[in-house]
Symmetry: C2
Subunit: 250 residues, 2 copies
DNA sequence: TTACATTGTGTCAGTTTGACTCAATAAAGA
DNA sequence: TCTTTATTGAGTCAAACTGACACAATGTAA
């Protein structure tokens, strides 16, 4: 698809959605990013809101377009509305690198307010698909991000903070893992999101006490140590807990 | 000020902010609402975002215009972006009741996406000021709300849910109280936000253990029972705790 | 003087947490 | 085959926290 086919007239002007799409692979939390055509920056997969569409639906559409996935955990977390969030100079450079017609030029030069969503997806199920504005679509380790456009770095950080807060209410990590997984993977996810090490025995005790995990067969990885048990989660109990929440302090 | 002086050209079209302003009075959590000119509905104090202004600044401006207050706890919590959130029929009725010129007519008839904020203010310090779109500005008990326009009922409910989640991370209630207050008031706020009764001795033990409260003189209310001690909060320790959060489960 | 509502303080069993052991075990190396 | 190594599963234990109480103290009204 050519960029110039983008029908800007059908979108709400000045408004966008940006998705921070998290995956987990090689014991690392990763984010899906797109390469800008200026070959200098990367950006979050984002898009615009159709005039007849809900904002949530727009975020789902963008997610589907980049990953081929439907019905994953997708959560709106913050609006980024600083008038200076996109540097005019940078936008001009980007626009130039894309060879656009005049209408599109105007479209990209306007001020955008963006709505941040984060998504939790199963890494192996994603087939990254670049969009018409980008050269590539790839995963990056959360602690080794490339140079990002505009305030996209801050958006990712905001997503992490939001996740950290949701973690105490909802058993989040499971959305990132395949249907069966060792507890260590889940622990690593929690450690990454919380930004601190957790005690293994204590973590296992707590997670298992939630009653949403089911023990499966052992996993022989070929590594020189005891093989861990795999677990899968009981969907019914999981969704019940998602609704109710866990860490009620008062 | 006349409505027809509203300079719509200086605002971002299709975007608004709505503030759920909470206060605490007579042992009740209250919300500040405006009376629509159709004399049938009430609405949240809201406004539009100037083309040169950040979204947060717009919310602060609206808050100041309705309450005369600056620098209070103001927290963005959700975007309401359903294309059908404002019924076309209702809008037409409202527009008719306001006697607008053609430009303004068009302005109000467009689809709006609104960004929800909630604010915590000290009831006694507020001087409610109606805006040019409304007939009155008044407080309502959170559990005795009048008929609200559009999805404003859902926005208020969303604010309550957001607060409930923040409560575990931040000692929120204090923003609603005067500089010194009895612990019972704070407990009532927590009970309202959480929607459940709390055990008084246990609540006091927990709140005091946070180390952000300072015991002051007794309060003689004239009621036929023991006079409670008043407490004020230690700002320094309070802000430290606000940053760090309290209820870390993992 | 008594009654009453509400407060300050305290108890206590049960649960959860944080910081630890330690034996079991899958594979690699000697 | 025996030993080594990394990691897992299971368990211990003191300290902290929680939920559910009890009870005396105290301003005012009857």
């Amino acid at each position: 698809m050519d960029i110039n086919d983008l029908d800007t007239a059908s979108f709400i002007p000045g408004l966008s959605v940006d998705n921070v799409i998290f995956g987990f692979h090689n014991n690392q939390l990763k984010v899906l990013l797109l390469a800008c055509k200026d070959q200098k920056h990367w950006m979050l997969p984002g898009g615009y809101v159709l005039k007849t569409e809900s904002v949530d639906a727009a975020a789902e559409r963008v997610l589907f377009d980049r990953t081929g996935l439907h019905k994953v955990y997708l959560q709106q977390f913050s609006v980024f509305g600083d008038p200076k969030r996109s540097s005019a100079q940078l936008v001009k450079g980007l626009v130039k690198s894309m060879d656009l017609d005049e209408t599109l030029n105007q479209w990209f030069l306007q001020r955008f307010i963006t709505i941040g969503y984060y998504a939790l997806v199963e890494f192996e199920k994603v087939k990254p698909i670049p969009d018409p504005l980008s050269l590539a679509c790839d995963w990056f380790d959360i602690d080794q991000l490339p140079r990002l456009i505009f305030d996209h770095q801050a958006i990712i950080e905001g997503a992490l903070i939001a996740m950290r807060q949701h973690l105490n209410f909802q058993p989040i990590g499971l959305n990132l893992l395949p249907s069966s997984f060792p507890l260590k993977s889940l622990q690593l996810i929690y450690e990454t999101i919380l930004g601190k090490k957790l005690d293994r025995p204590n973590f296992n005790r707590k997670i298992l006490s939630l009653g949403i995990l089911e023990k499966k067969e052992k996993q022989f990885t070929g590594a020189a140590h005891k093989a861990p048990f795999l677990y899968s989660f009981k969907k019914k109990e999981y969704y019940k807990l998602l609704k109710e929440g866990i860490g009620e302090t008062f």
